[in-house]
Amino acid sequence: MQKNLPHICPSCSSTLKVKSLVCEKCATEVTGVFNLPLLASLTQQEQDFIVAFVKSSGSLKIMAQQLGLSYPTVRNLLDDIILKIETNQKNQK
């Protein structure tokens, strides 16, 4: 089962921070308060879209062909992600 990284507090709906990181090999643990990477707040589907976007050198036309969708549909998906990232950036500040 693939576990999704939670980024919103289930109790108060605030943005979660990273408290500790651990090395699986030697069990070294680093603790502190770190911001989650911006892209981690996106859904898996949105992250996959960004990966595909980068792989296609940022060409929406190529992406539209690969995904079997029309150009404006792909552009709309990208615009929605941009809007979500901008909102998350504002919230992190």
Partner: protein, 190 residues
Amino acid sequence: MKKWLFNPFMYIAGTKSLFIGLAIMAATATIGFYSHTHFDGVVDMHNGRISALPFYFWEQLIDWGTVVVIFFITGKIFSKSSIRFIDVAGTMAMARWVAIFSAVIGFGINAPNVMPHSTDDILKVITPSFVLFGLLSLVFIIWMIALMYNAFRVSCNMKGSQATGLFILSLIIAEIISKLEIYILYSKTI
């Protein structure tokens, strides 16, 4: 299947949908000529008046062209995306494809070439087949409006109540302008 019927623009837009739409509009105009079906407004369909073939093509072009210009302007003003003219033109052309059914249905309506002047004249026109085919054509007009709404949403990246409000407003404006244009077309050539 439902997506293809009501929102094919998720998969087809731009030049491809423009050529498909224009080809079907030409076929609709030709069938309309033989069934005496006029599309004398963005979402209008009237049967009975006999006109020369070019008028049926002009009506199609005016309906489509007016919709494209009005919705493109609306999209440019209100959309946060960088919308393309070709997407609005293409999706709006393809959204008119169901009008071909209304043109075919026109063969069944068979309305008279002149305006009825008395109650008796009107009663003669309103036969069961007239009502049946009239209602059927209404279904296709509603389907076309649903397609136009989705064409607007996809090509201009509009969502929610803003999309619905702007669509209704733009459609009313386009309807009024297209009616005026078609009125001018007929009054200048008669």
